[in-house]
Each structure stands twice: as C-alpha cells, then as structure tokens.
C-alpha cells in the first residue's frame, strides 16, 4: 500500500458490507466505531451515483458503536446483545457479524460470538473486515469467503447449465445492477441458467444454489478468482474466467463464443443471437455517424484512472471498437503484486500495433492527477471517477465517468454491458466531446 493517498477511489475493508447488503435478505451487524460506515458510503453509496442498498440501507445497519468502554472491557458481549436484538427486530435471512479496525486491534472474538448463535431463528456468520489490512475489495472477498465457508451446504445435485456469476463487485462497480440484469438476459438467450446473487430479483435463495452450478463464471481480471478456487475446492465446481465485463460488439461476441465453447452450448442459436445483436449495434452506430463527423474535433487518445476491472472493459472497447488509443492507464485499486502481471497482460491484449502506453499501479489518485497536469496531450479524453472531473477540466480534456466514486448523480439502471452498452458508451463519449466547450468546437 502507498504510504499516504490522496483522492481515494476505494473504501476501507469495511466497504465489504456493501457486498452483503447487495444480497437481498442479508444483514451485516457491524462491530465498529460510529463513523466507519459513513466512510464506506462516501465511495460506494450515495456519492457513487446516488446508490443505497435495498432493503437494508446504510442508516438501518445495526452497529455496536464501538467506543472507549469496549476498548477497555472488550466488546464481545456488546456485540452479542446487538445481534440478539437484530434477530428480534429485523426481517433478515442471514446475519453477518463484521468488525473493523478497533475490534480487531483489541482482539474481540467475533467468530466465537457468531458461533454462539447456532440454531437461532436467523443464521449468524462472521467476517473480519479491518481497514488496516486492505480495501473494500479485500472486504468483498472476506464476505464471500465467510458465506462459502460458514453458510453454504452441498446441494447434492449439479445442474450443468447453471452458471454462478462472480467478478462484478456490487456498488464498487457503479454499473453493477444494470450490468447484472443485462448479463442475465444474455446468458439466458444463449441457453444457460444464470444464478446471480446480487441485486433486484435475486437474494439468499440464489446464494443457497451456488453449490449446484455446472460452473462458475468470473468476469474480471483478478477479483473473485479466489472465490472461484475456493468453490472448486469445496464443491468441485469448475470455473471459467473471462477477464472483463464486455462492452461493445468485439468483446461481447468473443465472450459469447468463449461461453459456447466452454459449456458446449448450441452454436447455431448463439451465432444467430450474435448476428442479430451486431446488426443492431451497427445500425445504431450508423445513425450517429454523420453527427460524429460533424464533431469538428475527434480526439484520438484517452487516459484512464480507476479500477482494474473498468480499465480492461473500457480499454478493450475504446481500442477495438472505437479505434482510440490509450496514453496512460492508472490502476488505483491496489491490485496485489502477484496479480499485476495478469492485469497488465489484459490491458495490452488489444488490437493495436504500437502498444507504447504505460500502465501504472498506484492507489494514489493524487499522483495520477499530478502526472496528468504535468504532461498530457491536449484535448484528449479522461475516463475515471468523479475525482478526475476537475483534473480533466484543468488540462482541457473531455471527461467520461466510468468508476467509483461516480459522483452525486442518479445512476438508475445505467450500464455499459454488451452490445447495447457499447452503443451507450459510444454516445456518452461523443456527447461529451461535442458538448464540452474545452474540446468541442475549437478545431
């Protein structure tokens, strides 16, 4: 980790509770100081496209309000009381007791507390989320590991067509909800039975079905590979990794063909779906062609600052489908050293002859901003989070938000997934170029 960071684009490990909150029926009970929750919501919740978890929004998440007395006397009993009351008052299906830094430092045994609720009306498990160990991606992994290790039971049967979807981190991937809905449609259309645990229309029942999947799909350059491996070990479920959430025709078609081959699906059906979708994509792009060429200035280059997952998705689409060239890519979510090479490979795996762009791993968003201010191509485009809006403005670049914190706006069901997502990103991109006075009508 960097010694000190500016403009953080990640929350602390406690941000992992958003993964729990994204699963309908799961209630985290937090054994943390009173301010910890607010810290996470600043990156993942309301400042990230105005999102709040449903049905348990942040303000109703039970908290022990870990204070001085708990530090001196231990907070285990306090946590036990809060869990007891939560079982009494909340209509939850699963409770995950989580702790933050203070409880971990004084050494409260939350596992023991959770275990003591064996046989209670609502099952209780535990996950350790101390912020001094890692960021919200570490927290996300801790929550999923707890569910797999402490909650899942073998179902006894395997449905070869069922596929569990991993790799998309709810809330942190600002577009997660819309993406998962579209992804579910696509997987069904090519003959699979998707099992998605997060968001609208899904929940704890889907969690219980995880062990019966034919395979697990991991849609990311590295996130959730640990979970897929754990599931492989525990339930012998194989997994398929596709290194990004596909945007646009090139990547989505590749994605479908990969799945068809891996799962032995009906090729004819898949190809006809691809044909129909690609035709539709190019129809929409053609409608905008005249407008695009009327944009007097069309930037060639772009900068990216943000999560590894969004970086791969956006870079593939911008290079392979739009024909733009990355200049520098800053990955700001503390990819573990041993995974950086994989991410780097994914980022260079594009249809481009001269790949002379740089990929920089730093958690310090301020460093990226300083770098860009010092050295940049005029009138380029910056993809990033809300932090980068002002940087882009200050160097006279266009700006397209693609990752957390997305900004104080309402994200709705917006997403850039698939063929449709390609059209959406294409139009957002050119709309920004055409309307941003710094890059638009000067040339």
């Amino acid at each position: 980790m960097a010694e000190c960071i500016e403009q953080s684009r990640v929350a602390c490990a406690l941000g992992g509770i958003y993964t729990a909150l994204a699963i309908d029926g799961v209630l985290p009970v937090t054994h943390t100081g009173p301010g910890c929750l607010a810290q996470a919501s600043d990156i993942l919740g309301r400042v990230n496209g105005g999102q709040a978890p449903v049905p348990f929004e942040e303000s109703v998440v039970p908290c022990t309000d870990f204070c001085n007395t708990d530090v001196v006397f231990g907070g285990g009993e306090h946590l036990r009381t809060v869990i007891e009351k939560s079982i009494e008052y909340y209509d939850a299906k699963l409770i995950i007791a989580v702790d933050g830094c203070t409880a971990e430092i004084v050494g409260d045994d939350i596992e023991e507390v959770a275990e003591s609720f064996e046989g209670s009306r609502i099952p209780v498990i535990s996950a350790k989320l101390p912020g001094f160990v890692g960021n919200n991606l570490f927290g996300h992994s801790q929550i999923l590991k707890s569910i797999v290790n402490q909650y899942l039971e073998p179902t006894g049967e395997v449905n070869p067509l069922q596929v569990n979807v991993f790799g998309i981190v709810p809330f942190y991937d600002t577009f997660w909800q819309g993406t998962l809905e579209r992804l579910e449609e696509l997987l069904k259309a090519i003959g699979l039975e998707p099992n998605i645990i997060y968001g609208h229309g899904h929940g704890i029942e889907n969690v219980k079905k995880i062990p019966s999947a034919g395979f697990n799909l991991v849609l990311s350059p590295w996130i959730d590979l640990d979970i897929a491996k754990l599931l492989e070990q525990k339930f012998k479920t194989p997994f398929l990794q596709f290194d990004n959430v596909p945007i646009g025709p090139t990547e989505t078609t590749k994605f479908i063909r990969t799945l068809v081959e891996y799962a032995g699906l009906d090729q004819v059906k898949a190809e006809s779906y691809i044909k129909k979708s690609e035709d539709r994509y190019y129809y929409y792009i053609s409608r905008h062609q005249a407008f695009v060429y009327a944009c007097k200035y069309i930037p060639k280059d772009f900068y990216f600052i943000g999560s590894a997952a969004a970086a791969v998705s956006v870079t593939r689409f911008m290079v392979n489908d739009v024909g733009s060239v990355p200049l520098r890519i800053y990955i700001t979510d503390n990819v573990p050293k041993e995974r950086q090479e994989d991410v780097r490979k994914s980022l260079y795996d594009v249809e481009l002859e001269d790949k002379d762009y740089e990929v920089i791993f730093t958690e310090d968003g301020g460093l990226a901003a300083d770098d860009l201010k010092k050295e940049h191509e005029d009138r380029s485009v910056v993809f990033g989070s809300n932090w980068d809006l002002l940087t882009a403005r200050s160097i006279g670049s266009a700006f397209v938000p693609v990752c957390a914190p997305y900004g104080q706006t309402l994200i709705g069901s917006k997403n850039y997934f698939g063929y449709e997502g390609g059209v959406a990103l294409f139009s957002d991109y050119y709309a920004e170029i055409a309307t941003n006075p710094q890059v638009a009508f000067i040339g």
Binding site: N68, T69, V71, V72, F73, G74
Partner: protein, 121 residues
Amino acid sequence: MSYYIAVATSDGEIIDTHFGHASSFLILEVDDFGNYEEIEDRQVRPACGGGECHACAGSLMNEIAESLKDVDFVLCARSGPHAEEALRRYGIALLDVMMPISRAVPKIHKFRQRYRRNVVI
C-alpha cells in the same frame, strides 16, 4: 506509579450508579501490580440534581470534573456526552460499564499496561 479510579457505586461492590445521580465517588488507588484499595468516598453535588435534569451542560459538570481531576478513569453505569466532555478536559476517561468493581479494575489495569504511553482514550 499508582493511579486512581473513581467509581459510581451504591454499595461499594458493583458499578451501578448513573454519573449524574452519583452524590459520591469511591476513589480507588491502584498500584503497578494491579492491587487496589479504597482510599476515599469523595462527596460531590449530583449533576442531575437528584433526578431532575437541569444542569447537564452547566457548571455542575465542571465542578465534578474539577473535584475528580486527580483520577485517570471514572466508571459509572451510564453517562452522557456532557459528562464525557467535561471530564475529557481534565484528561479523564469516562467509561460506562455495569459490573463488579473487582472485575472492572483488573481489566482497566490490563488495558493500561498494554497502552502504556499515557494515552488518554
């Protein structure tokens, strides 16, 4: 070096009194090994005026804090933010905890040994 703990208790055994209701605090002297003895029952004017709330943020809180300024910890069953603030100005930690004094003191001592560097929590 010894340090002092003030306890709000009605029977000298259990920490059971609200900060604002206490008309006296039992003062304990704790030595380096965690042994303690009662050295005084220090009289104060109760901050909540015997149940009627009128002086919470006012001078009574400060008066009590002033009279406890030689202690490091005050233990009581319940307290509010004004009490905590008043005591914090004198570097005193106010902790709400309902348990026998004989259980509380060893925990405080252990905590103090762990965080020796004079932290004021």
